[in-house]
Assembly symmetry: C2
DNA sequence: AACGAAATAGTAGAAAACTACTATTTTATA
DNA sequence: TATAAAATAGTAGTTTTCTACTATTTCGTT
């Protein structure tokens, strides 16, 4: 019997999943929570074999939760659930300590297979996922991480502030803001503000 | 016994929902599909009492599907499922012919209640929803609808095309594109491209 | 303490976006 | 078939963003 904890911010999703998995003979759902903070609270009480963890959650997202689990050396294996499949996202998930990754739009069969594989072999990923990761490693320039300050500026840009308005708000020179703006576009291989805002929203930076 | 069809693009979600609802004594899930086109195909064969329709779907979204059902005078009542709760979105859903609206992050109890209420009374919405709609009607200037062409242009802007590139793509004058751009900003009370892209993504225009 | 990354700030010029108008043609529909 | 909304296109000037550089200071990590 494999014990499972489910963490997802959408009640309908986590309840549906819970009922579905409980009807599997080898699986028992022992806990269902709605955010990362709760995961941490519950993991202090009992440690399931596997945690199905939605990455995009309010209060405390999946990445922070993963890091905490890694730090505390909790033996629970984490199967990350998400809708994204960008290489950045996937790499971040595994680097944060997940043992498996599955997209939310996979079906019951795949999910059960993922859980069983993860339980038996300690790891789960599809060939597609490993391909994405490998290829991204190949043509990697390493330095594509967006800094804290850059994120701050991205948010203000998306809030419709101009360069000079941002400068005033942050008490820095407009030239500095301009430098950040250019660095961001360069790092993310974007052409303009429109692309920047789209990227930022879709990757969850904002 | 209430017969239900489920339409959602995420396999895991629709399967979980299906198992969950099937375990309810008054409910029977008779069909589960993944996009709007399939809904139309299946509704030609049999008409469930209620269709649980995800609004954000690829191929053909919920709005188009709703309009089709309305046009064809199919007796199936539609309960719209979505994560958004902007007044624009909700109004659009009901105007397109939905008989009920429920957020995806509601729980099993609420969902079952919504289905039963919709079946018995032909309509379902929470007081919160009606409040949002009513208040938006109050301070409404009516003319804030984005046209088809404007949407087309918004999409191209978000794809990082410049005004002149858009003009070439659509075989119109750059001045026309510029006019559209200005009209869009005016209609939506936005200040610049950044705000436009953010708005468009968050309201589901893109 | 040394290193690299991040944050800061500058010059200068080109390109694009924005403001503020007017005005004609096309299209949908009451 | 009027009428309104949408799509088209223009002039003219301003502001903002983008490109392409260089360069110093601050900060976190090894």
């Amino acid at each position: 019997m494999i014990s499972i904890m489910i963490a997802d911010d959408h009640q309908m999703f986590r309840e549906g999943l819970s009922v579905m998995l409980d009807s599997e003979k080898d699986i028992q759902v022992i806990d269902v929570v709605s955010n990362g903070k709760e995961v941490i609270k519950r993991l202090g009480l009992r440690t399931p074999d596997i945690l199905l963890l939605d990455i995009e959650m309010p209060l405390q997202d999946g990445f922070d939760t993963l890091k905490w689990i890694k730090n505390e050396k909790i033996p629970t294996k984490v199967l990350a659930l998400t809708m994204h499949k960008s290489s950045e996202f996937i790499k971040r998930i595994f680097m944060s300590g997940a043992s498996g990754y599955i997209q939310k739009d996979m079906g019951r069969k795949e999910l059960v297979k993922a859980i069983l594989t993860l339980y038996k072999e300690g790891m789960y990923y599809t060939p597609e996922i490993s391909k994405i990761v490998m290829e991204s490693l190949k043509n990697k320039n390493q330095k594509s991480q967006i800094s804290k300050r850059e994120k701050e500026i991205i948010k203000l840009i998306a809030d419709q502030l101009t360069t000079s308005e941002i400068a005033k708000r942050l008490h820095i020179s407009p030239k500095t803001v301009e430098s950040h703006r250019q660095n961001i576009l360069l790092k993310l291989s974007l052409k303009n503000t429109a692309g920047l805002v789209k990227y930022a929203i879709q990757k969850g930076i904002i």
